[in-house]
């Protein structure tokens, strides 16, 4: 449908939250900024954390940021999409708009934050003397696969959330647990054997690993991982689509 409406909704998403405050939408960009600086200074400088086998400057900070920034985009997309129908009830129950639109504008608005934070990350890399290699051209691919997965998952949950309001909390808790099950704060190698096998089936690991490859290990991300992730995204999306076909009328009735 209409791109302009989608963009407007995404823009609103930024400005509405902070309307009335002096800095406005800037606030939504200040958060990731502060986080990145904390990770760099606290873990890189004060605690001087080191990564085994990685010799790049501020190794642990780079590792941490490279994982946390995409994870944040992913987790925010999922958790906010999950409640988008009930949150936007006032619009949905008054105007005719295709419902799959709603998780989509969240993907877009989260992407803006992501791009901004990534640019900031690049600055930090340059300042700390890390080279930015051509491998960053893989970024859009990884990000697309990741957000396709996030969108599908969010849309799927959103449909159920209309019927079971508790899903909001369930989603948030699951995401929190999921975060710690993904090697973002710690490294993959420190896991005991059984956990290592377990983590391999973690879809979030697929994309987090890819970011690590690019920024920390200077390696080409595994194409197999990305293909699996994309396939997973599409199959969930397909499932969500079927579910939506079946339940759209009920979703609208209940809102």
């Amino acid at each position: 449908m209409k791109i302009s409406l989608l963009m407007e909704l995404a823009r609103r998403d930024f400005t509405e939250k902070y309307s009335g405050s002096a800095l406005g939408a800037l606030w939504s960009l200040l958060w990731p900024m502060v986080n990145i600086f904390i990770y760099t200074i606290v873990f890189g400088k004060i605690m001087s954390s080191r990564l085994e086998g990685v010799s790049i400057p501020y190794g642990y900070s780079v590792y941490l940021i490279a994982g946390i920034v995409p994870w944040t985009a992913f987790a925010n997309t999922v958790s906010r999409s999950a409640t988008v129908f009930t949150d936007r009830k006032n619009i949905i129950s008054k105007v005719k708009i295709a419902l799959p639109f709603f998780p989509l504008f969240i993907v877009i608005s989260e992407s803006v934050t992501f791009v901004f934070t990534m640019l900031l990350f690049f600055c930090i890399l340059l300042v700390t003397g890390n080279p930015i290699t051509g491998k960053i051209f893989y970024l859009p691919l990884i990000y697309l696969a990741q957000q396709l997965f996030a969108y599908a998952l969010g849309f799927f949950i959103a449909i159920f959330q209309v019927f079971i309001r508790d899903l909001k909390e369930v989603t948030n808790i699951t995401l929190q647990v999921w975060f710690w099950f993904t090697p973002i704060v710690y490294v993959y190698n420190i896991l005991p054997d059984f956990a290592e096998k377990f983590v391999r089936y973690n879809p979030a690991y697929l994309f987090v690993k890819a970011y690590h490859d690019i920024f920390v290990f200077d390696a080409v991300p595994s194409p197999r991982h990305l293909i699996v992730l994309t396939a997973l995204g599409f199959s969930i999306l397909f499932g969500a689509h079927l579910l939506f076909k079946k339940l759209e009328r009920d979703v609208r009735d209940f809102l």
């Binding site: 209409k2 409406l5 509405e16 009335g20 006032n90 008054k94 105007v95 708009i97 019927f163 759209e248």
Partner: protein, 409 residues
């Protein structure tokens, strides 16, 4: 042109929304059905106004929601070759923290306008809403009338094929309402279709080309507004009768007196409408049924019509007509007042009393305030405004000579 072809809508009522999912998983039945609409069909042609009337719960809102695409019907289809907008609820998607201008953009886009259209029409929208400098203020500082003005202005400028007019329009002040009506007429004259949903039967008669009456989710009648309104009155009176059977005493307010005789019931019936909703100028009969518990001579029966503000509009009694009745114990009597009801459109109540002599101050047997209510909707014969028809005779002549001026007739 808009056409609705046998639209049906069934709501399944669940104790909790989660039951809907349990039903899918476990295949059980956990709901009760509520049929909101049952094969409703109609068409609205270009430049035509269709009135939709019906009591609360008849399915009007559901119909509107299906027309605007917010709800999906269980059966049937809607064919619209364009946008349909209206004031369904004030300020759809308005964000009260944001200023008027931003809200115009958001609201306009939600209604399906493009950026380009919005840029073209923004000035017109602001101008029509008469918000002036307020347009840069957050909407939370607006009065409800201002919000309505903005909402209406956006909706009518969104270039819809069909415009839905409902009660929300009544929020504005009289001046703006008239301005809106003018705009709506312009819209219709330019080929737009209008769906007019209202409880104001008078307005339906005046504004609509055709009307449909919804009752329990069905179209009971479709036709010229006059017929449909009459049918509506009939439907209402049917319900009133059910009400009446459950109540022994006359409906309404204060009732007092010595109760040696009693007013059993008071009813107004129009000779054309056959119910208590009548047109101004229609001949009506007011029947006062009375009964005495002992023999009483020279009983006076009176009626008094009051408007919604409690003002006395007209009152008379048998004494002034040099009539009275000698009542026998336990015999029912009916006193009928027949008259052309030349009072203006509106809602009224009838108060009735039985007493001795000319007023109830002497000896009041029974007095009942608001014993019956009725509505005057629409006007027979020449149009007039105000609370009563004075039936003037009008002559116009040219005035030739100065001497004629004092009295040319």
């Amino acid at each position: 042109m808009i056409s609705a072809v046998s639209i049906s809508k069934v709501f399944r009522l669940y104790k909790s929304p989660a039951d809907r999912l349990r039903e899918i998983v476990f295949r059980g039945c956990r709901h009760t059905m509520f049929t909101a609409l049952q094969s409703v069909s109609f068409t609205v042609r270009q430049g035509e106004t269709l009135g939709v009337i019906g009591q609360n719960g008849a399915g009007k809102s559901t119909l509107l929601k299906i027309l605007t695409g917010v709800l999906l019907p269980n059966g049937g289809e809607i064919r619209i070759d364009g946008r349909i907008t209206g004031l369904l609820e004030l300020g759809t998607g308005f964000n009260f923290e944001m200023n008027g201008l931003d809200n115009i953009v958001m609201n306009g886009m939600l209604l399906g306008m493009s950026r380009r259209e919005l840029a073209d029409k923004k000035a017109e929208i602001i101008d029509f809403a008469e918000l002036g400098e307020f347009i840069d203020e957050p909407i939370k500082t607006y009065s409800s009338g201002m919000v309505m003005r903005l909402a209406f202005s956006i909706a009518i400028h969104a270039d819809p094929k069909c415009f839905v007019v409902d009660e929300a329009l009544s929020v504005g002040d009289a001046y703006f309402q008239q301005k809106c009506m003018l705009k709506i007429r312009n819209f219709r004259d330019n080929g737009g279709s209008i769906i007019f949903v209202s409880h104001d039967l008078n307005a339906v008669k005046i504004l609509c080309d055709r009307a449909i009456l919804l009752d329990h989710g069905r179209v009971v009648i479709e036709g010229v507004p006059e017929d449909v309104v009459n049918k509506y009155n009939y439907v209402i009176s049917r319900i009133r009768k059910q009400d009446a059977s459950t109540r022994s005493a006359p409906q309404g307010g204060n009732s007092y007196g010595s109760l040696e005789a009693e007013i059993v019931s008071v009813a107004l019936v129009g000779d054309k409408s056959g119910s208590n909703t009548v047109s101004s100028g229609e001949t009506v009969a007011i029947n006062v049924d009375i009964k005495a518990y002992k023999d009483i001579a020279n009983v006076t029966v009176g009626i008094l019509i009051r408007d919604v503000f409690g003002q006395d509009i007209f009152g008379t009694n048998t004494f002034h007509h040099e009539l009275s009745v000698d009542m026998k114990k336990d015999t029912p009597y009916r006193c009928r007042f027949t008259m052309p009801l030349n009072i203006g459109p509106g809602k009224y109540t009838i108060t009735s009393g039985i007493h001795s002599h000319d007023t109830h101050i002497h000896h009041c047997y029974h007095w009942v305030d608001h014993a019956e209510s009725f509505e005057v909707a629409g006007i027979y014969g020449q149009f007039y405004t105000g609370i009563c028809r004075l039936s003037p005779e009008i002559v116009i002549k040219s005035v030739d000579k100065v001497s004629d001026v004092s009295d040319p007739f």
